[in-house]
């Protein structure tokens, strides 16, 4: 919690894990103490809802909630909001992702109200990849507020019934608030502190960047526990299965903030070509087992990038099926 000076303090208080009451399925699962499973669905680069439905069908019954990315890597896709509604229609509880890159505070608050009005129970607050990486690198970016301030915004609208301006929200959005953190980005020493800031701002769950380097993740979790942050926010470790050696090398060398140990690439290289994907899945399942054993980890967030059909297999192999 933040004390009077606006500083993080270790004492429990308002906004802690005990005071939750949204309609979120993820909140229900986490609150029950069950190890949670979320996954991700990247909307298509077109207007066909069937693509979203198909991806959703792979996940139904295997995850507690599904993230819907918001123009990830700055590539134009169907809006997260719309794809969330499509997924809701097939029986999933979507987590709408919202990045600070494309909207100012007016648009963000408007979309939060709209999402809540149509039954979206979860919002994940992120900065967003820089547009340089996407398909419209000549676009202007917004970054009116940052991800921590977006968390504060949702919390303010929900708990205080106030817009950023201080004016009254008539009909509060009842939303379970999430955030992300990258334990593998630099400077490493502030990565737990930054999560503390997000929890203090009002985030109730965090999904981490993909964990490949489990030792480093353990160190980060140790720092998180030392600060008592795991008692204030539910921590879901990010898991990404490697489809190929090429993907592993790309993740290692070209994706900012990604930490892929060389041994993992060597392990994929060490199996026959036709067994690489199987090995990738095996590593993902082992990683789930390893992070599950770390004190303070409340679940996993499986990001099977354009490989949603493999989530069932991973969830089953990790002994996380059926879902509560």
């Amino acid at each position: 919690m933040v004390n009077e000076q606006g500083r993080w303090s270790k004492e429990k208080g308002e906004g802690g894990l005990e005071n939750m009451s949204t309609q979120s399925n993820l909140e229900r699962v986490l609150k029950s103490g069950t190890f949670a499973v979320t996954s991700e669905c990247g909307p298509p680069r077109g207007a066909d809802p069937e693509v979203v439905k198909k991806k959703g069908s792979y996940l139904l019954g295997y995850v507690d909630c599904v993230n819907v990315t918001d123009n990830q890597t700055s590539v134009v896709r169907m809006s997260s909001f719309s794809a969330c509604l499509v997924l809701k229609g097939v029986g999933l509880d979507p987590i709408m992702q919202m990045v600070c890159r494309d909207r100012n505070r007016i648009a963000m608050q408007s979309d939060i109200l709209g999402a809540a009005a149509l039954g979206i129970n979860n919002l994940l607050c992120l900065s967003g990849d820089h547009q340089k990486f996407g398909d419209h690198p000549t676009a202007k970016n917004v970054f009116d507020i940052d991800s921590i301030q977006l968390i504060q915004t949702v919390k303010g609208m929900r708990d205080e019934g106030r817009f950023i301006s201080g004016q009254e929200v008539k009909g509060k959005p009842n939303i379970f608030i999430g955030c992300v953190e990258n334990p593998f980005a630099d400077p490493f020493e502030i990565r737990a502190l930054r999560l503390a800031k997000k929890a203090a701002a009002g985030a109730q769950f965090v999904q981490t960047q993909c964990v490949f380097n489990v030792e480093k993740f353990e160190k980060w979790m140790e720092m998180v526990r030392d600060l008592g942050i795991h008692e204030k926010i539910h921590i879901l470790a990010g898991i990404t299965p490697m489809k190929s050696i090429g993907m592993a090398q790309y993740m290692k060398n070209s994706v900012p903030g990604m930490d892929v140990p060389e041994e993992q690439i060597e392990r994929l290289k060490g199996v026959p070509k036709e067994k690489v994907t199987e090995e990738g899945i095996k590593i993902a399942v082992e990683t789930i087992e390893r992070v599950r054993a770390i004190k303070g980890v409340a679940g996993v967030h499986i990001m099977a990038i354009e490989w949603e059909e493999k989530v069932q297999e991973i969830v089953k192999a990790a002994g996380l099926h059926p879902r509560p």
Binding site: R7, S127, F143, D146
Partner: protein, 222 residues
């Protein structure tokens, strides 16, 4: 200083196509310091244009003038006796100077020979980097002398984002991560506890977002 880059030669030549009497205007201030639009650069560009146009069989007459400042009426007015001897003005001053000269001589077009880029510093000889965006509400006291509005690619107030690696920004591995620099300063000054303070949302109304800005000092008006 205001830093500018000369436009590509082809773009300049294209703009000058209809004209044969050109006043090439430089500025002795910022664009001289950043080696883009001072008297030296005016002379070089004038020669390049003359040579090119001669080769094309369309020779030009170019007058070369470098004002002390292009953003001050006192100096801009000094163009009055001869500006009408030319069909067009090609300016190597910053965007402010280009517009200001145009405002004073409405019957002459002032064409830009430079792209005005940023407020910056000479980091080393021949290298200029950005430091300020003129947002109108300085927070350098809070971020220990490093501006996240300008130097973070996402202008994040509670950074660093997840793309910071090895002290560099995700946008370009040659750009230092502003928040990495800020965290280094917190550590050096033994102020890490300050890092935990959540920086409030910025009031952008003092920035360009509030519309073009104006400053008036009544006591200085004549």
């Amino acid at each position: 200083m205001i830093v500018a880059n000369r436009k590509p030669f082809e773009e300049i030549i294209e703009m000058l196509k209809p004209y044969s009497k050109i006043l090439l205007l430089g500025c002795n201030e910022c664009v001289t310091v950043c080696a883009t639009g001072g008297s030296k650069e005016v002379a070089v560009l004038a020669s390049e244009i003359r040579l090119y146009r001669q080769k094309e069989g369309k020779p030009v007459e170019i007058g070369e003038v470098t004002l002390e400042r292009n953003c001050d009426p006192e100096y801009v007015e000094s163009l009055k006796p001869f500006i009408h001897d030319y069909e067009v003005v090609l300016s190597m001053a910053c965007g402010c100077g280009i517009q200001f000269v145009g405002e004073h001589y409405r019957d002459r077009l002032v064409l830009p020979a430079v792209n005005t880029t940023f407020y910056g510093v000479t980091e080393e000889h021949g290298v200029w980097t950005e430091r300020c965006q003129g947002c109108g509400n300085c927070i350098l006291h809070k971020t220990l002398g490093i501006c996240p509005v300008t130097r973070c690619a996402k202008s994040i107030f509670n950074g660093p984002c997840g793309g910071s690696q090895g002290g560099k920004c995700e946008v370009d591995r040659d750009i230092p991560c502003a928040w990495h620099l800020i965290v280094d300063r917190y550590r050096e000054l033994n102020m890490m506890d300050k890092y935990l303070e959540i920086q409030p949302m910025k009031d952008w109304s003092t920035s360009r977002d509030g519309g073009p800005r104006k400053r008036v000092r009544e006591d200085l008006k004549i």
